[in-house]
């Protein structure tokens, strides 16, 4: 079997004595879509932040295409796009200016064609000159997706991108991700919304108490199969 695109090995993270991740091993192949489920405090966001090189593991290693984040975090960042529940956008800049700024950060040639194309695809081209703070939450999140795809990263990290969206906007976002995420892109996503997550994913991981407690491919699993499992590990009370 060829080398996985993302290899997480023996990953541990502690904040002081508080151990958030207690030894996690996951291989993710190129092109797969993984959803990461788990109760609050299970370590989902922490794991995603370590993948994104925003946070450093206490021990263990993350390799992207065979390169360790400890050796070349700078180079790895080029292969990552991230959408999180905070949009990473500037309210006092227009959509166009935000994208121009991030294009410069990523050293993507200031080719406005790509920027305009992305704005078209997320349906914001007509509002591209407006300040982002005048946008609705759903529009902001669509722009955040455009921002994350600007440098055409092979890996997309989504940290609860549907938080704070009404069902309609969340639905729209899921469609958008499926449509422009593309099948060749690798997606790692955390969410509280099991059903919506399943629409995108081909593999389900459940974290609990800083450990991986469930790892299954979706083929053959239906929502009905997963629901009891999810409730068992994650607890009911989440929709």
């Amino acid at each position: 079997m060829s080398q996985p695109l993302i290899r997480i090995a023996g990953l541990r993270k502690a904040f002081g004595r508080h151990r958030v991740l207690r030894g996690i091993d996951i291989d993710i192949e190129a092109g797969s879509s993984v959803i990461l489920l788990g109760p609050n405090g299970a370590g989902k966001t922490t794991m995603l932040r370590i993948l994104a090189t925003l946070s450093k593991a206490t021990s263990g290693d993350v390799q992207i295409a065979g390169v360790s984040v400890n050796d070349n975090a700078e180079g790895i960042r080029r292969y990552l796009g991230m959408v999180s529940h905070s949009p990473l956008l500037y309210g006092d800049l227009s959509a166009e200016e935000n994208l121009t700024f991030y294009a410069r950060l990523y050293g993507v040639s200031e080719n406005d064609g790509r920027r305009d194309d992305l704005l078209q695809r997320v349906g914001l081209h007509h509002r591209r000159k407006d300040l982002v703070r005048t946008y609705s939450r759903g529009m902001v999140q669509r722009l955040a997706i455009a921002r994350a795809l600007l440098h055409n990263p092979p890996i997309l990290l989504l940290d609860e991108p549907d938080t704070g969206l009404d069902p309609q906007a969340a639905e729209m976002m899921t469609d958008l991700l499926r449509e422009i995420g593309g099948s060749e892109r690798t997606i790692v996503m955390t969410t509280h919304h099991l059903e919506r997550g399943l629409e995108l994913a081909d593999r389900v991981l459940i974290l609990s108490g800083g450990r991986l407690v469930f790892d299954e491919r979706i083929s053959g699993l239906s929502y009905g199969d997963l629901r009891p499992l999810y409730d068992q590990y994650v607890g009911t009370g989440t929709p």
Binding site: L54, S86, L88, L89, G91, D92, E97, F101, L131
Partner: protein, 224 residues
Amino acid sequence: MKRYFQVVWAVLWKDLRIELRTKDVFTSMAVFAALALLIFNFAFELRIPDKSMVVPGVLWVTIAFAGVLGLGRAFISEKDRGSLAGLLLAPVDRSAIYFGKMLASLIFILVVEAFILPLIVVFFNVPLITAPLLLILLLGTIGFAAVGTIFSALAVNTRAREVLLPVLLFPVLLPLLIAGIRTTIGLLEGQSLAEHANWLQLIVFFDILFLVVAFLTFDYVVEE
């Protein structure tokens, strides 16, 4: 290397663009500075024979206190918008982000200085706007922004935030302020800049030393 400067410029451009639109930082600094000058003016009005004697101190103290207001905003705005992570995701050495933010703060403080210098000339009636004095102000402000920007990044991740920044900043900044005030006194007394070469060297040394230390340590301030 070209990539590095591209990112420095991108961050600077972004901060200037937002500031031109909102004028948040400039307004708060400028209003504060004008008020400080007004208060100093009354504080010294009848107590000393000649108001121009206190100008060097008034100038540097006003800049230091107004500047710390602006520096506080440098990372608070990123933090509150949650946009700092967006900067840190950039595939570049993170010191580039430091230099971008530092240059933006430097420019904000210089603009405020350009605003208060004429005010001091009017209020205190001293010929303050001369080439050597502007040079000292520029060099002093570089050191101020160099230390202030990284301390702003420290303070923003603590519980105390705005309160903590001046407490951290001023004791470290002291040699710079002393050198600035001393040189300004000399220049206003009609001495030449050459007579203050040692002070000038001290300021330049301060600037270089702390720019280098900030360059080396900024990573530790933003990582988790």
